[in-house]
């Protein structure tokens, strides 16, 4: 086994010193060492989006990111996401956009980055922007509505 090496990760505005093997993914380290289990492992392959976190404000696959390559990055997980994410939470709640919730962390983070870049995103932009986050429960309609509601708030 490759030895563990010390690594300082800045997660949710707090610096954490962790010991991680070089091949450990960011997902493994967040979950197993920092007990930030909001990012989920749905495929470990980059497809489902359940592991999404923000690295320097952009959504990435934590399952495809080696933790040690994040040494100079600012990482935001669902546990620490604020601002637009809070507005999205409110909208997801109102729209009934959550069923089992396994996709929800990734959805909220991906949507928050989308709205940060395009505050008044259209339905089509939202559908495209969320297409890398699978949801097997909702049929997406209510999720898109929730994100669109926040976007409309920004239009006003």
């Amino acid at each position: 086994m490759s030895a563990r090496q010390t690594l300082v990760l800045r997660v949710n505005d707090t610096e954490h010193e962790v010991r991680a093997a070089l091949h450990d993914t960011l997902l493994t380290v967040l979950r197993d060492q920092l007990q930030l289990t909001g990012a989920k492992r749905g495929c470990n392959h980059g497809v489902c989006g359940a592991c999404t976190v923000l690295v320097d404000g952009r959504p990435v696959r934590a399952c495809l990111t080696l933790a040690h390559t994040c040494r100079s990055a600012a990482i935001t997980t669902i546990e620490g996401a604020r601002g637009i994410a809070d507005r999205l939470r409110e909208a997801f709640e109102q729209a009934g956009a959550v069923q089992c919730g396994f996709c929800s962390s990734g959805m909220v983070l991906t949507a928050s980055a989308l709205l940060a870049a395009r505050p008044a995103a259209s339905v089509e932009e939202i559908r495209a922007g969320l297409s890398g986050n699978l949801c097997r429960c909702t049929g997406y309609r209510k999720i898109v509505d929730a994100v669109r509601a926040v976007a409309q708030g920004a239009e006003r």
Binding site: A50, R89, G96, C100, G101, R136, Y140
Partner: protein, 771 residues
């Protein structure tokens, strides 16, 4: 209904904040002190005798604490209908990937590394991969001891036939004689993977007395308890089953997956063991939707009146029976559809093959048969020159009609469902739909019905000292929202605010029995138990209040906010707090309302129908639905896009409208995958696409944003507030409606799923419908 009624509103999920802040805990998120991690070794062969194991290297590997093979397990078998399955392969393997050895080690990586060191010697046996081959004379037998297995019903089985079922009404020969037109075709559906976003997993811990606590991703803590105990030979009282949040279940988490193995590992290692499947393992070793071959023959009169129907199903059951006999029987019960067809016979054969077991999946066989029956209706309509909606309306079951088999319908909103779908989709103006250049476009229509019900259920409502309430049902909320709905029912029945009721997490030690979150049943069955248990609490409250207020119980009423008072006398009232305190400390004892019941209306009326090998004597009440889709086909590639959809369901009464819509929309999306892209492909004995890279499910791009759901309410006399189930109905006819639209747009009648660009394009080229 007062203004404050909690029924019918789109209240947010009671657990929503937890899920939106990342704090909801699913099985993978649980960690116990001293916990080990499990890994599995899967069989490389589809069918083989296990000759010997060599686990020495694995035992000696770093971090390994325990290695178990089939020899460490007793000869106990589990199964919902036919007890044919060991906890881990024993003596024989029957599909590629079947767990043969289980390992527990200090870390997941160590456990997985050790798994690679295990050597198992096999003696290969001929593999049976197609259902037709299973039936061939001289075929290798997959379960030699089938005859001796315990069966919970009178199974008609033998050889590789796991179960065969027949259900018939009327006189088929007469039916054909009376028909002016007879249409017959064969339809094929593909194996579909559940792909709940959360893979299956379990965590077991043994206490000092040897009693086991098991957390797992499941749809029923009670089925888990029964299956684990059956397959390990444990008394049920030695196992406590709990559930964390569940990352959805669509039938895949109803029966056991790896729970028995994880319990055995924990018992053997003497430490907690967690095992969460990788996505690949989840595809390869849990279960999936059966591929069906369905022959449908329908006879009709010139005016479109349905006269006769003959259906024959051949279902691939895979290596173990699991829920398959139920799925087969249910599919046959659904094969007449929500129509009057006086002469109907439906027969089916379920066979064992050397593939992953197939089992319960939302729709439970209904989507498979409906693909055949609902597309055939369109074919008939076209041949007779009748509008597809008109022919359905003409033959639709009315409120006084009975379901196939003879069960009386307590409620039936089918006519209204058809009307809503027709109106909202502007069906009558469909000729005016414009297709984009290079595209064909048309609407497609289909109708359906589904049951909700089945088996035992209970509820306990406890009034706490302060007048707040804890509700305990044992029903697992798998994401569909039952915690919220049951809380709404309880709070509404007691006229208290939602936040005064907490719902307990399912626990086989403390919860009343609940068969499971399946068969679209929780709202209907558990909701009813909750309502009755709340009524019992109300009765006890009134007994106390009558004594305290010196009046008759009949003169009392519950008032909003947790107050009981004398009707018509505003000031004369008592808060629940006062009543509960009295009950706890002075008189009567704590107030606990309980209810339990089992669905007991017979499915088959022997005076009307003949049934052989049907595994469920009582099934449930019927919900109805209609669906219209607006489909566009790319002439260049044959790719189908669903632009809009109108999905309508008669749910009796929507307890939570948002949740009902959520079920209809989610079911539609899953049906869309079944219709267009999803197919587990076996390359010889091996699954060729067990990853999300290769097995695709619809994304936010494929599911139409214009996915409109409509609720029809034809109250069921026995349902809580009239409610019936809605969990499955929305998936049943998505494929059929799309196929009907494709036929309308291109003239191509597809009889095989999924409707890939390839199948569509070939059809169009053959029909000369595309240049």
């Amino acid at each position: 209904m007062s203004d404050q009624s909690l029924i019918g509103r789109s209240l947010p999920r009671v657990e929503i904040r937890e899920k939106l802040t990342g704090r909801a805990q699913y099985i993978a998120d649980l960690y116990r002190p001293g916990m080990l991690h499990g890994a599995l070794v899967g069989s490389p062969h589809p069918h083989a005798r296990i000759v010997s194991y060599d686990v020495r290297a694995a035992r000696a590997a770093p971090g390994v604490r325990c290695v178990l093979t089939g020899e460490d397990f007793g000869d106990h078998r589990m199964g919902a209908f036919i007890k044919d399955e060991h906890a881990i392969a024993k003596g024989k393997v029957r599909y590629v990937g079947e767990p043969v050895v289980a390992i527990a080690a200090e870390t997941e990586a160590q456990a997985r590394a050790a798994a690679l060191l295990v050597e198992v010697r096999y003696e290969e046996l001929p593999a049976i991969l197609a259902p037709e081959d299973a039936l061939a004379p001289g075929a290798a037998i997959i379960h030699e001891e089938l005859a001796s297995y315990f069966k919970v019903f009178e199974a008609v089985c033998g050889g590789n036939v796991c179960s065969s079922t027949e259900l018939a009404e009327g006189d088929l020969e007469r039916g054909w004689r009376e028909s002016d037109l007879v249409v017959e075709h064969e339809y094929r559906t593909a194996p579909q993977a559940h792909v709940s976003l959360e893979p299956c997993g379990a965590l077991a811990e043994v206490d000092a007395a040897g009693r086991v606590t098991l957390w797992s991703a499941n749809q029923s803590v009670f089925r888990v308890q029964a299956s684990v105990c059956e397959s390990l030979g444990l008394p049920m009282s030695r196992l406590r089953c709990l559930t964390p949040r569940v990352g959805a279940g669509f039938g895949n988490k109803m029966e056991a997956h790896i729970q028995p193995i994880v319990v055995k590992l924990a018992l053997a290692a003497g430490r907690p063991v967690k095992l969460v499947l990788s996505r690949e393992e989840d595809f390869e070793i849990v279960r999936a939707r059966h591929p069906f071959k369905v022959r449908v023959k329908t006879g009709v009169k010139k005016d479109g009146t349905f006269v006769a129907r003959d259906v024959e199903v051949l279902a691939d059951g895979g290596a173990y029976a699991d829920d398959s006999p139920g799925v087969l029987g249910y599919s046959l019960l659904m094969a007449r559809g929500p129509y009057r067809i006086p002469h109907t016979r439906c027969r089916g054969t379920l066979v064992y093959t050397n593939k992953l077991r197939f089992g319960a999946f939302r729709g439970f066989g209904n989507p498979q048969v409906s693909f055949g029956t609902e597309t055939q209706i369109d074919e008939i309509a076209a041949r007779l020159g009748i509008d597809p909606v008109a022919i359905r309306r003409k033959n639709a079951l009315g409120p006084d009609d009975r379901w196939f088999g003879g069960q009386q319908l307590g409620s039936n909103g089918l006519a209204e469902c058809i009307e809503v779908a027709e109106r909202e989709s502007k069906w009558k103006d469909r000729a005016q739909l414009a297709a984009a250049p290079g595209k064909r476009r048309a609407l497609g229509f289909a109708c359906t019905a589904h049951i909700s019900g089945l088996l035992g259920t209970g509820a306990i409502v406890r009034l706490l000292e302060d007048g707040s309430v804890v509700l305990n049902t044992g029903a697992v909320d798998i994401g569909q929202g039952s915690d919220t709905i049951l809380t709404q029912i309880c709070a509404d029945a007691l006229k208290i605010p939602l936040d005064r009721v907490s719902i307990a997490s399912p626990d086989t030690d403390g919860s009343p029995y609940n068969w499971g979150t399946t068969a679209s049943r929780v709202t209907y069955t558990t909701g009813r138990a909750v309502f009755a248990a709340a009524r019992e609490v109300e009765r006890q409250i009134k007994t106390h209040a009558a004594e305290l207020l010196e009046c008759a119980e009949a003169d009392l009423e519950l008032r909003p906010g947790g107050v009981v008072g004398i009707k018509g006398v505003p000031g004369k009232e008592l808060p629940f707090l006062a009543i509960s305190a009295r009950a706890h400390w002075r008189k009567g004892g704590p107030i606990i309302g309980t209810n339990s019941w089992v669905f007991d209306q017979p499915t088959v009326d022997p005076k009307r129908a003949v049934a052989v090998g049907l595994p469920f004597p009582q099934i449930g009440v019927y919900s109805f639905g209609a669906l219209c889709v607006d489909v566009e086909i790319d002439e260049t590639t044959g790719q189908i896009e669903v632009r809009r959809a109108w999905t309508v369901a008669d749910v009796g009464r929507a307890i939570n409208r948002g949740s009902v819509e959520g079920q209809l929309e989610g079911a539609f999306a899953q049906g869309l995958g079944f219709a267009l892209v999803e197919e587990m492909v076996w390359n010889g004995p091996r699954l060729a696409n067990p990853t999300l890279m290769d097995y695709k499910v619809p994304t936010s791009r494929e599911v139409p944003y214009e996915l409109h759901s409509y609720i029809v309410e034809s109250p069921d006399p026995d349902g809580p507030f009239g409610a019936k189930g809605v969990g499955e109905i929305g998936i049943n006819v998505v494929a059929a409606a799309i196929a009907n639209a494709v036929a309308a747009a291109t003239g191509v009648r597809l009889r095989q799923l999924p409707m890939t660009p390839e199948r569509v394009l070939r059809g169009m080229l053959a029909a000369g419908a595309s240049g």
